[in-house]
C-alpha cells in the first residue's frame, strides 16, 4: 500500500506544473436546466468568478452581498461574470431561491447538490472563490473577510 502511495506522489510531481482546469461537471440552475461548467462558460478572454457558498454560511452571504453592491462598477471595467455555486444539500436547498431573490442578487446560481464540483476541486471550507479565464484556473481565494472583495477586484484587473 505504501508503494502505491509513493508511486502516486511521484506521478503527481511530474504534473505539478500543469495548468489546472475546471472539472467537466454539469449542474442544475434554479430553473432546472443543466449547465456545463466547462462548455457554458468559455467565452474568449472573459473572466468567470465561481463563488462557492451555502445558505447557512454567513461569511459567504456577506461576500456575495458585498460583491453584489459593486458588481455593476466591476462590469464597467471588466468583461466578467459571477457564478454563485450553492453547495447546499437537500436540507437547505429549498431556501436558495427565496434567499437569492430576497437579497436581490444578480448572479447566475448553480446547484451543487451532492457537492460533485466542490469535491472535484478539493474544496474543504467555504467561502471559496475560483477565477477562470480561457478555460484555466488563474486565481483562488480561500475564505472571506471584509475587504477581500477589493483585493479580488485588484487581482481581476491584473489578469
Amino acid at each position: 500500500m505504501k508503494n502505491l502511495m509513493t508511486i502516486l506522489i511521484c506521478l503527481f510531481g511530474f504534473f505539478l506544473n500543469a495548468q489546472t482546469q475546471m472539472p467537466n461537471v454539469s449542474l442544475n440552475d434554479l430553473e432546472g436546466k443543466k449547465i456545463s461548467i466547462t462548455n457554458d462558460f468559455n467565452e474568449k478572454d472573459k473572466i468567470y468568478v465561481f463563488s462557492f457558498w451555502a445558505t447557512w454560511c454567513t461569511p459567504c452571504i456577506n461576500e456575495l452581498d458585498e460583491m453584489n453592491d459593486v458588481l455593476e462598477d466591476w462590469k464597467k471595467e471588466l468583461n466578467l461574470e459571477v457564478i454563485a455555486i450553492a453547495t447546499d444539500d437537500s436540507r437547505t436547498q429549498k431556501r436558495i431561491k427565496p434567499l437569492v431573490n430576497g437579497k436581490g442578487w444578480e448572479y447566475k446560481i448553480l446547484l451543487d447538490s451532492n457537492q460533485d464540483l466542490k469535491r472535484a476541486l478539493s474544496i474543504v471550507n467555504i467561502p471559496y472563490t475560483v477565477v477562470v479565464k480561457n478555460g484555466v484556473i488563474v486565481h483562488i481565494q480561500n475564505g472571506y473577510v471584509p475587504g477581500s472583495e477589493s483585493e479580488l477586484y485588484q487581482k481581476l484587473k491584473s489578469l
Binding site: 500500500m1 505504501k2 502505491l4 502511495m5 508511486i7 502516486l8 506521478l11 503527481f12 511530474f14 504534473f15 505539478l16 500543469a18 495548468q19 489546472t20 482546469q21 472539472p23 467537466n24 430553473e31 432546472g32 436546466k33 443543466k34 445558505t55 454560511c57 454567513t58 456577506n62 444539500d89 437537500s90 436540507r91 437547505t92 429549498k94 431556501r95 431561491k97 427565496p98 434567499l99 437569492v100 431573490n101 430576497g102 437579497k103 436581490g104 447538490s113 451532492n114 457537492q115 460533485d116 469535491r119 472535484a120 476541486l121 478539493s122 474544496i123 474543504v124 471550507n125 483562488i140 481565494q141 480561500n142 475564505g143 473577510v145 471584509p146 475587504g147 477581500s148 477589493s150 483585493e151
Partner: protein, 558 residues
Amino acid sequence: MMNKKIFLGFLLVAFNVFSQEKGVFSGGFETNAQWYLNDPDFLDEFYNPVSHPENPLRSNSYLLLNYKIKNWSFGIQGESYLQDALLNYNPKYEKVNVGTYFAQYKNEKIDVTAGYFYEQFGSGLLLRTWEDRALGINNSLRGIRFIYKPTNYFTLKTLYGQQRTGFDVSKGKIFGADFELGLSDVLKIENSDLTIGFNTVGRYEKTDIANPNFDNLTMTYGGRVNYSHNSFYVSSEFDYKSKDAVVQVRNQIDNNLIKSGNALLFNMGYSKKGFGVDGTFRRLENMSFYSERLAKGNQYNDMILNYVPSLTKQHHYNLANIYVYQAQPNVIINDASLVKAGEIGGQIDLFYNFKKGSKIGGKYGTKVAVNYSQYHGLAGTFYIYSPQDYSTEFLSFGKKYFSDANLEITKKWDEKWQTVFTYINQYYNKKFVEEIYGEIKTNIIGVEAIYKFNPTHSVRTQAEHMWANSDKKNWAALLAEFNFGTKYTFYVSDLYNYGNDDSRLRNHYFLFGNSFRYKSTRLSLSYGRQRGGLVCVGGVCRYVKESTGFSFSINTSF
C-alpha cells in the same frame, strides 16, 4: 488489495496510452490534528475531569489525486488516521490506507464510473452517498455506475455497488436506477419548467436469522415532480420502502415486527426580487435505510444509505446549536411512554429586503429573514406487547418533538458598520428526540457586529444569551474575530454555562485560535475546550465527548 492492483495497472496503462496527450493533475490535501490534554478543572456530566485518551496526539489526513486526460478521469484518495482517528470518529478508520479510487469515462452522452462513486437520487431520501470529513462520513458505493444522457432533458442512471465502511465495504449489495425527464422540453411548454423523475433502490443482504419473516431483498421506489412558472414553484416527492424487519434496539433484528416505510415531501414557494417565501412539509414513517440492517442507529452514521436531514434552520450562533433537532424516521415501541414511528412537520421561510433609500431600508437597505419550523411524532395506534405492532394515521400530528421560531435582521449602517440581530425561540423534546428524558424551552438573543477599520482590517463580534427553563439552563457566549488583512485572522470565544443548577458544572468553553489563508491553502491552530454533545453539519449529527487541547489543521488544493 487485488482491486487496488488492478486499478494501479489501469492507471499506468492510461498514462502510456495517452502519453502523447497532455493530461491534467489536480487534487487536494487536508490534515486535522489534535493534541488532547488533561483538564482537571473541567468536569463532564458525571463529574469526571476531562482526561486525554490513550494516544493523545491524533490526526485524520486525506490526500486526493485526480488525473484527467481527454474524456478520462482517474482518482485516488489516501487516508491516514495516526496514531488513531480523532476522538468520536468511527474506529474502523485506522492507520494508513487507500480510502477510495475511481476511473471514469465521460462524454456528452455517456458517463461510466468504476470504483468508488458518490450519487444522489432526488432529494436523497432513498439514496445519497457523500463525503463529510468533519463528520467522518464517507458512504460512497464501490462498484459501477452508468449515466446515459441522450438529450439535455433526459437522464438515466443505473448503479450497482457495496458501500464503504471504514476501509472495507458492506455485506449488503446495493443496486438502483433513476431517470429524470424534462417534460416542459418534451412538450415545448414555454415560460414554465416541469420535470419528473422516478427511482428505485434495492438492498440485498442475506440474513443470519433462522426462519426470517422478511426477505433478504428490500426494495424502495420513489417518484418526484418539479414545476415552476415565473416566480412560483412547487415540488413533491413520494418514497416507499418495502416490508423489512425493524431494528429497534441496537444490534437486534426484530423478526416479529416487519413493516414497510414511506416518506412524503412537499415544497412550494414564491419569490421575486426583494421578496421570497418558501414552505416545506415532510412526513416520514419507518424510513431509516442502511446497507446492513444491523448498522441502524450507529453513532457514526456508518453505512447510512439515505439522507434524512432535519428540515429546520441551520443556525450559526453557538448557543442555538445546543438543542438541535434531528429527523426522526425510526420506529420504537418498546416502552408505552416512548413510542415513535416517524415524524410529521414542516417549516416556512420568509425573506424580505427593505430597499435602499426607503424609510426602514436606509442608505444601504435592511434585510429580514423569518423562519418557523415544527415537528411532531406520528399519531396512531401502538401495540407494545406481543405481538408488537403499530398503525399510523396519514395526516395527524402526535407528540410535539420540536419547534423553532426565529427572526434575523441584517442592517448595514455605513461603509464601516454592519449589524445582525437575531431572536430564536425553541422547544426541544429531549425525551423523544434523544430517547433520554427532559423537555426544554429556550429563548436566544444574538447580536453580531462587523466594524471595518480600513478596507482590509476589521473586527467581528458576536454576543449571545440563551434562557433555558431546564436541563443545563442559561448560557452566555461571546466571540471576537480580528481580521488583519485578508490573509490572517485571530479569534477568541467563550461559552459559559453560568446558569447550571449544579455549580460544579458551570463550565467555560473557551477557544483561542488563528488562521492563515493564502490562495487555496488554509492553516489554522487553536487551543480550547470542546463542548460535549451533538456536532451537526448539514442536518446529520454525531455525538462528541468533552475534550481540551490543541487543534491544528491544514488544507490545500492544487
